[in-house]
């Protein structure tokens, strides 16, 4: 039992102004700790207005030196806030930082309870627990690992491109991996960008070219990451480079193969199903790299065994039907995930008729429709390919802010809807209706754009559209799409007949986000977006050291924010690289070989493959480099042969007893 230990413990209770002292009797708590926990080794207990202040810290450092404290407990805020502060203080005074514990009596006591007496009693329990625990703490040394200066960026959208360029321009090497044949992402599909309406391609392509030609960037398009091993500083990543069936060293990107290819295919990706491409193709004119790819599923040669038109006409003989997928292995120190989003499938909202009513379009379809490089050269027409609409209805929040689909707001849809309204007005002069629940234009120069669209006589109806139907009730509705909605400001149901409906569909996590997250060892929110380390203060880092996120992979956002995050993530990576080595929390599991019975129960438990079984010695071994310190194996070992530093059985058992006042000195009656 803990009485045997002869540690010298100091307890420091923080008032945090009135944050703690307002609800907890701090002086009383301090006095109590000194008396009731004396037998545990508490030699001094002090309270102070702000422990985290330099004076407060000096107070502790002084005691450590003068009273020869061997353990320190600070009863203040959450360890997530100031653990580092006080452990550093301990370190400065020559005490191993891991011998200092924080007892959270603010977040867990004073802020959540009102009754002073009750709060004080709970605070006592928390302190008692911390004291018993700290006695069981053992000195630990941080683990230092070197940082490999190379970086992997996954996803070649605007966020990924930005991140890659920032790092490359700093003179460090970047691998930029993109699933599609070309980088550019969704932004390359857009026509204009809100609120300034500058042409998307015009501002994007220079960046694409720079990324494509940068000496510090290894561009791997038509490629996917298939495996990630290792940890911050030294990740080992396997990338599958899908066969292009085009020799990149010989191809000049002249496009003759595409021209001669007899097979026409609907382009579901870049043209959003609204246009065609060939079986061998570059998705768009400004594609980077310029090399085309061959789509095996649709290529006549791969299906029938004859054709080879592309091969015949290729002036440099770059076509190679025997090319195979290849696996590339790279070593990187940090990884940035900028894998972007999928568009919500509007067919799920069957009352809007997308997929059933020809003249209902999705936002991405409209982007292509209005794009000068798109299937209609920018003519905004109905599905028949010729008729210009006289009236257009734009529906916001499609699949967003709806418990039947996605709960969250997709952020960009309002501005996108306004942009569409402007383009339709400008190009066709049609009457435009915007149907919205709440108009969200909160960003620099966004609301001004809203004003501008208002001036263009766009008709705004506040109400979530109930249905889009082709069932006419009156002559005037025949042959049109009828949008039925409650005009919530007029308090009346309205039926508005239009020629074209555009659904401002929301954004969704990539269909494979969960698997990708698993592969890189990061978690997803309930909605499926990658989870950031801190929603406000650490938006581009993740809970896993060395893995960063940027752009829509982290949550719906517009182009400016995606670019900002790309840059932010790269800054975080650069700062890691410049530190040359990184210190890891020494919270690890280790096996005591004498006690290990070789039962192998723990072997299957580790998701990081840190546990291996030594056949020769018939014992289990844990690789500290791979161990993340979750402690699952520690809890599982029937022989108690595995111990976890920082959270050992002794520490937790002692804390339990403390919290239950089982360590109080019995007072003789």
């Amino acid at each position: 039992m803990s009485e045997k230990k002869q540690e010298r413990v100091g307890v420091y209770v923080c008032h945090c102004g009135t944050n703690i002292a307002g609800t907890v009797d701090v002086p009383g708590l301090t006095k109590w700790s000194e008396e009731k926990l004396k037998h545990q080794g508490v030699v001094i207990a002090r309270d102070y207005k702000f422990m985290c202040s330099s004076l407060g810290q000096e107070l502790i450092e002084k005691d450590i030196k003068e009273l020869g404290l061997t353990r320190v407990v600070v009863a203040a805020c959450s360890p997530h806030l100031h653990e580092k502060t006080f452990r550093t203080a301990a370190k400065n005074a020559g005490l191993n930082p891991y011998l200092c514990e924080l007892a959270s009596i603010r977040e867990q006591v004073s802020w959540v309870h009102t009754d002073k007496a009750v709060a004080t009693e709970k605070a006592k329990a928390v302190v008692a627990g911390a004291v018993s625990r700290v006695i069981e703490n053992v000195p630990l040394e941080e683990i230092k690992v070197p940082i490999n200066p190379n970086t992997l960026v996954v996803g070649g959208g605007i966020a990924g491109i930005q991140a890659a360029l920032e790092i490359a321009n700093a003179g460090l090497h970047v691998y930029l991996v993109e699933r599609e044949p070309s980088i550019g992402g969704h932004m390359a599909q857009f026509d204009k960008t809100f609120p300034t309406l500058d042409c998307s391609a015009c501002i994007l392509t220079p960046r694409m070219v720079e990324a494509g030609t940068h000496p510090n960037i290894t561009l791997l398009t038509w490629s996917e990451v298939v495996n990630v091993a290792g940890y911050v500083g030294s990740f080992n990543v396997t990338i599958k480079k899908k066969a292009r069936f085009v020799k990149e060293d010989l191809c000049t990107g002249c496009g003759i193969c595409e021209e001669k290819c007899p097979k026409k295919v609907i382009d579901e990706v870049f043209e959003a199903g609204l246009g065609y491409r060939k079986a061998v193709y570059t998705p768009f004119a400004q594609a980077v790299p310029k090399f085309p790819v061959m789509d095996k599923q649709n290529c006549t040669y791969f299906i029938k065994g004859t054709c080879k038109a592309c091969e015949k006409f290729c002036p440099t003989g770059a076509i190679d039907f025997n090319q195979q997928d290849e696996l590339i292995n790279i070593e990187v120190g940090n990884i940035i995930l900028a894998t972007g989003y999928d568009l919500f499938d509007a067919r799920r909202v069957s009352n809007y008729g997308y997929g059933r009513l020809p003249n209902v379009f999705t936002s991405l379809e409209f982007e292509r429709l209005s794009n000068a490089a798109g299937p209609t050269n920018g003519d905004i027409v109905l599905r028949d390919g010729k008729t210009t609409p006289k009236s257009v209805g734009i529906i916001h929040c499609v699949g967003s802010r709806d418990k039947n689909f996605n709960n969250y707001c997709s952020v960009i849809c309002c501005m996108q809807g306004l942009k569409f309204a402007h383009l339709v007005h400008e190009r066709t002069g049609a009457t435009v209706y915007n149907f919205y629940i709440d108009m969200r234009t909160a960003y620099k120069a966004y609301d001004e754009f809203y004003q501008r669209v208002l001036e263009e006589d766009t008709l705004f109806v506040r109400g979530k559209v109930a249905e889009v139907t082709n069932a006419a009730r009156y002559e005037s509705e025949k042959g049109k799409l009828i949008i039925q909605v409650e005009d919530t400001l007029a308090g009346k149901q309205r039926r508005i007949a239009v020629d074209m409906v555009i659904l401002s569909s929301g954004l969704q996590p990539r269909h494979d986000a969960k698997e990708v997250g698993k592969m890189f060892g990061i978690s997803c929110s309930t909605d499926g977006w990658f989870t950031e380390k801190h929603p406000k203060l650490d938006p581009v880092a993740t809970m896993t050291e060395g893995i960063y996120i940027a752009g829509c992979a982290q949550g719906p956002k517009d182009i400016p924010s995606s670019v900002a995050q790309g840059a932010a993530a790269s800054a975080r990576v650069l700062n890691k690289i410049l530190q040359k080595e990184v210190a890891l929390e020494p919270i690890k599991a280790s096996v005591n070989e004498e006690m290990c019975s070789g039962c192998r129960i723990c072997n299957g438990l580790c998701p990081f493959n840190a546990i291996s079984f030594l056949e020769d010695r018939m014992v289990t071994e844990i690789n500290p480099a791979l161990c993340q310190g979750c402690g699952t194996c520690v809890a599982a070992c029937p022989a108690g042969a595995i111990s976890g530093t920082g959270f050992s059985d002794e520490q937790i058992m002692a804390q339990i007893d403390g919290l239950l006042f089982r360590n109080l000195e019995p007072v003789e009656a």
């Binding site: 802010r401 039947n404 109400g463 979530k464």
Partner: protein, 198 residues
């Protein structure tokens, strides 16, 4: 004071006085109404096939509930016009049990005697009377009793239809009765007691 089912309320995270009428309706509704979640988007009012004949759209009714406008709400003809087609229910982005809330408002209106037009409440009551005395609905009795009371003018126009229904054997002149009427009565008697206590 209406008792609170709402978890947040029990955890002291919401103030009940803001919610009293809303919660009264919530409590009297079958299932979990989610009434407090309404974001006033108008999906219900837009979906409603009979909104044109309602004096308030369902959405407005919910706003009025929040505002504690008890009498105005219970006087509204909206719940009585509702045809329970459930379009609003499946489309509501906040999963409000709209149709069931309408049933609740009807029964509250009846108890408070606040409905404006007696046709609907009487029809329901007549129907229920039939069921309570036979255990089955009795269309002929229902039709005659109801039409004589509320649509005497409509009867001549209805005659060919009623005649056709009878000649084609689609309307029985005499009611059908279930065997264990006593059992059903006992159940309903007890149920009504519980209704009062709840």
């Amino acid at each position: 004071m209406p008792q609170m089912t709402d978890e947040r309320v029990r955890a002291g995270l919401a103030r009940e006085e803001d919610l009293s009428l809303l919660h009264e309706v919530s409590m009297k509704t079958a299932g979990v109404s989610h009434l407090e979640m309404c974001i006033q988007c108008g999906t219900c009012g837009g979906s409603c096939p009979v909104a044109m004949d309602m004096d308030h759209t369902p959405r407005m009714l919910f706003a009025m509930l929040r505002a504690g406008m008890r009498e105005e709400v219970l006087r509204s003809n909206t719940p009585w016009i509702c045809v329970s087609c459930y379009h609003c229910v499946v489309r509501c982005p906040q999963e409000v049990h709209i149709a069931d809330v309408m049933y609740t408002l009807k029964s509250m209106a009846i108890k408070a005697k606040l409905y404006s037009d007696s046709t609907a409440p009487h029809f329901s009551q007549t129907f229920v009377d039939m069921v309570e005395s036979y255990g089955r609905s009795y269309e002929f009795g229902l039709a005659t009793r109801h039409y004589l009371k509320h649509f005497p003018l409509r009867l001549p126009g209805m005659m060919p239809m009623g005649f056709g229904m009878i000649t084609k054997g689609r309307m029985a002149i005499t009611p059908k009765k279930i065997r264990h009427m006593d059992q059903l009565r006992a159940i309903l008697k007890c149920a009504k007691q519980l209704e009062l206590t709840s």
